[in-house]
Every structure is written in C-alpha cells, then in structure tokens.
C-alpha cells in the first residue's frame, strides 16, 4: 500500500460516496459519534447521538466496474441504546453511542459491542435467507389450521427468501460504571474486553454480564485531590496481558495484567517532558489526550492531543518518536477556542493497514494524513462541493498569517462548527470513512 498523497507513485484520494442528509439543519440525534470498520473491512458501522447504529456492507466487486472497489450500502440499522434517567442519582443518561468495536468473525453471524455512557451491549447481526415452508398445522401466513382439516402430512422444507438482516442484543453489560464510559476494547484473546470511564477500567468476559473485574482505579480517596481523569484505553493487538490508558494530563500508562490483579501501578509511563518556558493556562488542557491507538503490528502507539498527533515506541517512555502538527495555527486562537469550548473537542486518530500513514480530523471539515517515513502530510476536505463520483480530492492549505495565496484559506475563515472528530481506515485497502457532523464520507484511492 502506498502513502498518503502527492508524487507519482502515491495515492490519489477520490470521492466515493456520501451518506446522510444534505440540509444544514442538523437534528441532534443525527450527529455521528463513532465510525468503525470490522476486521475484514467488509462492514462499516456508525453510531449516532440518537443511540442508533447503522451498518454498511461493501458490495462484491463486479466485473463491470474494474475502476473502483465495491460501494458501501446499508446492511442493517437498529436502535442500540435508549435515553434513561437514573432516579436514584438524579442522573440523565444519554443514548449517544460513544464507541463501537467489532468482534472478530467466528461464524456466519457478526458481533459488535456498542456503548453509551453507562451500558455496553453485545449485538449479533445475522442473515436469514431461507425460511421453512409447508407446515402441517399452520397456513403460509401464520394462521393456525384446524387439525381436523388435515388429511395428509408433509415434511416442511427450507425455501430461499429475500435476504433479511437481523440485529439482536445478546448481552447487556450494565451497572459497572459510576462515571462516563469513554472506551471499550476487545482483547486479543477474543474472550474478554475492557471498558473505561473517567476514573476506572473494568475487565469483562464476553459471556458473563453479572460481574466484571476492576483493573484500574484512579479515584482519589478525597475527590478534592482529583487532578486527572482517564480519557481513553485500549488492549494491545496481540499481547493479551497488555493495555494502555491515556489521561487528561497528557500521560499514557501501560499496564501488564500479569503483574497484579489491580493495575494501579503502571508498568510503563509515557510522558514527554514539558518545556517550562512554554507553560501557560492552556498547557494542560491542550495536552489532554483524546485518543490512543496501537499500531497494527503492536510496536507503536499513537496519541492525539488538541494540536498534534504523536507516535510512541513502546520501548521508549521519555518522548515520542514522531510528532505531527495537526493545526499549529490554532495556537494563536486558543483564547476564543477556550471561550467557545472547542478546545475541549475530542479528536480521534487512526492508522492505515500497514502502519505507514496516520490520519486525524480537524476543523472546517478538513482532515489530515501524515505519511511516516516520508515525512509528508496532506490536508483534504470532506465537502459536498468535491463530491462528484471518482473526483480526485484537491489538497487544502491553511494560511496562518501574512499573505494568503490563491487557494489557501485563512485561519479566521475556518468554520469551527464543522469538525471531523471520527475517521476510520479500512484494515487492508486505501478506503477511508470520514464523519462530518451528520454525514459519512467514503473516499478511495484512484484505481487506474
């Protein structure tokens, strides 16, 4: 797989599809809150603020269209979570889907975990393309026959029917989190998974819903002493004993579950020392890590803070091996970004299939790709204007100050309401899913 963009051998990103309403009046329920490809890339799931999950399936490539990979069409949609009110604590529980994580496929059915602030659910998505016909005691429409009218017996047979995709909740993992769940992560043992809230991380068995083990607890005895919260957590892709969690203070802790039952003491602490001359009111806020993702090969992890993406070598704790500036020009806007709360936006990040490129979102519906190795970066835009089929996306550039060149956009013209927080990269191919506020864009590399 080639790199992010630019150059003759490199990827040229083209518009493929866009899902969602065109109108600007966005209902809150339609705000996309998570996007995730499954392990094969054939399925793409989205969750929204209204608690709904929509799953798209990639069409099989047909001989008639050698120039593009299959399109993603709706496969299944269901209401995963409902709004709740905890009367005991007088707490309103949003139905917004915070994260979706797919389980690796074990049989014909697909399984995914979806979570809101308090409850995780395991959903089974299965296909039905046959139905039994020829019952003795029932009519075809389901009405029961009078047994006395039955004169001959026949054996019911399965006949093909139009494909029906059914989603059913198989497990509900509830009541284990006092605070708001920000992450779920399936272990490489395919038997357990973790769920993390602001102060605690719990370990679950996929089959057992009535208990979970607390493995990390950073709640101080006196809440007045609270200085940091857990912002994201993930299991290592192939070491089932290893997990990492990031904090609001910009640190990442790696824990080994073999060391102790309660992993409050970290095995490794990843933190980049701060230059004291750069300390400001905003320092801690912009250092808060909003996402942490292991590379597919398990050797690196990536973190996203407000202004940058950092790649860490798991063997080196004192500083990241690579740092990429996502939108450095925002440094001179921090005051207004604090006032309009944008400084608290939680951007996610993702790796491509072979860990050579990383991607993250920004404002004005821009998203950024960083090509490791070649140290090249690319800014693209998800917009209706560049949505002609197979149209190649034009690279964008933000002008930080001084003279603005012809196609550049100035920092003051950026629309901070158009944020791309969620992006996903197909596990093998150069297909990416980019979520704007209420639309899902799918881009592919140009195939010749």
């Amino acid at each position: 797989m080639a790199g992010a963009g630019g150059g003759s051998n490199d990827v040229q990103w083209c518009f493929s599809q866009v899902k969602g309403a065109i109108d600007d009046d966005v209902a809150e329920a339609d705000i996309i809150s998570t996007v995730e490809f499954n392990h094969s890339g054939e399925l793409l799931a989205t969750g929204d603020k209204g608690g709904r999950v929509v799953i798209f399936q990639q069409e099989q490539e047909t001989k008639g269209q050698p120039h593009s990979r299959g399109e993603y069409n709706v496969y299944s949609t269901f209401q995963s979570h409902e709004p709740e009110f905890d009367y005991l604590k007088s707490l309103e529980i949003e139905e917004k889907i915070n994260k979706i994580r797919w389980l690796p496929q074990k049989n014909a059915a697909q399984f995914l975990l979806s979570t809101n602030d308090k409850t995780i659910k395991l959903w089974k998505i299965s296909e039905r393309d046959k139905r039994p016909e020829g019952y003795n005691l029932k009519e075809e429409d389901g009405r029961y026959r009078d047994p006395s009218t039955v004169t001959t017996l026949r054996v019911p047979v399965f006949r093909p029917m139009d494909l029906m995709v059914e989603a059913s909740p198989r497990r509900v993992f509830a009541n284990a989190h006092t605070y708001h769940i920000n992450s779920i992560s399936v272990n490489s043992d395919y038997e357990t998974y973790l769920s993390a809230d602001d102060l605690r991380i719990n370990l679950w068995h996929l089959e057992i819903t009535d208990r979970s083990f607390n493995i990390v607890d950073i709640k101080p005895a006196n809440m007045e002493e609270l200085t940091e919260v857990i912002t994201a957590a993930e299991f290592h892709p192939n070491q089932c004993n290893t997990l990492v969690y990031s904090s609001s203070k910009g640190t990442i802790r790696l824990c080994d579950m073999r060391a102790a039952a309660l992993c409050d003491k970290h095995s490794k602490l990843f933190e980049e020392p701060e230059d004291p001359s750069n300390r400001s009111f905003f320092s801690e806020i912009i250092s808060s890590i909003s996402d942490v993702k292991f590379s597919h090969n398990g050797r690196y992890m990536m973190t996203r803070d407000y202004l940058s993406v950092k790649i860490w070598d798991l063997n080196m704790e004192n500083r990241p091996v690579e740092t990429y500036q996502v939108h450095e020009y925002l440094r001179s806007k921090l005051c207004s970004l604090y006032e309009n709360d944008c400084i608290f936006d939680k951007f996610e990040c993702c790796w491509n299939g072979n860990d050579s490129v990383v991607m993250t979102g920004s404002y004005n519906n821009f998203f950024r790709m960083f090509e490791r190795g070649h140290r090249r970066d690319l800014t693209l835009e998800a917009s209706r204007e560049s949505s002609k089929p197979r149209a190649v996306l034009k690279p964008r550039k933000v002008c930080a100050g001084g003279k603005r060149k012809k196609d550049e956009i100035s920092v003051d013209s950026l629309d901070f309401n158009k944020k791309i927080l969620h992006t996903a990269w197909h596990p093998q191919d150069n297909i990416i899913a980019v979520a704007t506020t209420n639309n899902l864009y799918i881009f592919q590399d140009k195939m010749n």
Binding site: D117, H180, S248, F282, S332
Partner: protein, 116 residues
C-alpha cells in the same frame, strides 16, 4: 550630525518593534493567555484542576427537589412558577426545576438519515 542621530534613533525604534513582534510570534500562546486573563480576571489559577474535572464528572446531573417544588407551588397559589429561561439547563435565581423543564426524553423512533 543631527541627521546621524535621527537615523540611529529610527533604527533603534524599529529594532524594539521587531523584538516586540518577535516575542508575540514566538509565543502566541502567552498572548492568548493574556487575552483570556484580561477578559476573565477571576479565572482560577488551576485550569486543569478540580473544578473543570468535577464538572466533567457531573455531566448529566439533574436537580429536582419535590419539597421545594411543592412549597413554591403552595406559595405562588394561582400564579405561575418562574419558568426556566431559554437555556433549561441553567438554574438561576428563583427558578426551581420543574417536571416541565426536563427535556423530553423521547427515544429516536425515526430511522437514521444515513440510511436514506
């Protein structure tokens, strides 16, 4: 001689200006911090500390006291209770959260627009 002095003075001034703008450029964050402190002089010294985190942990907390509500209703008799302002989440002054103020918790029975 006076012309020479004038020239040096002018040079000196422009160097000062250059230094000022360099400082601003080299630390735009400090300039932003100064702007914020000027707007909100009482802003806490510990921005990432307890207050901000506690607010994050208390997300979703709603307040309703049936005692207050019934007392207020009794006092007001025929009059209306002070209703919530446009921002129903903000409880200020005499306003007492009432059942009417709680946002309607209807689940989305409508299909997602991504399916259209």
């Amino acid at each position: 001689m006076s012309t020479e002095n004038q020239e040096t003075e002018a040079q000196f001034e422009s160097e000062e200006e250059k230094q000022d703008s360099q400082e601003k450029n080299s630390n735009p964050v400090k300039a932003e911090e100064a702007k914020l402190k000027a707007k909100y002089p009482n802003l806490g010294q510990k921005p990432g500390g307890s207050d901000f985190l506690m607010k994050r942990l208390q997300k979703g907390q709603k307040y309703f006291d049936s005692g207050d509500y019934n007392m207020a209703k009794a006092k007001m008799k025929n009059k209306q209770l002070p209703a919530a302002g446009p921002d129903k989440n903000l409880v200020t002054g005499d306003h007492i959260p009432t059942p009417q103020d709680l946002p309607q918790r209807k689940s989305s029975l409508v299909t997602s627009k991504l399916v259209g």
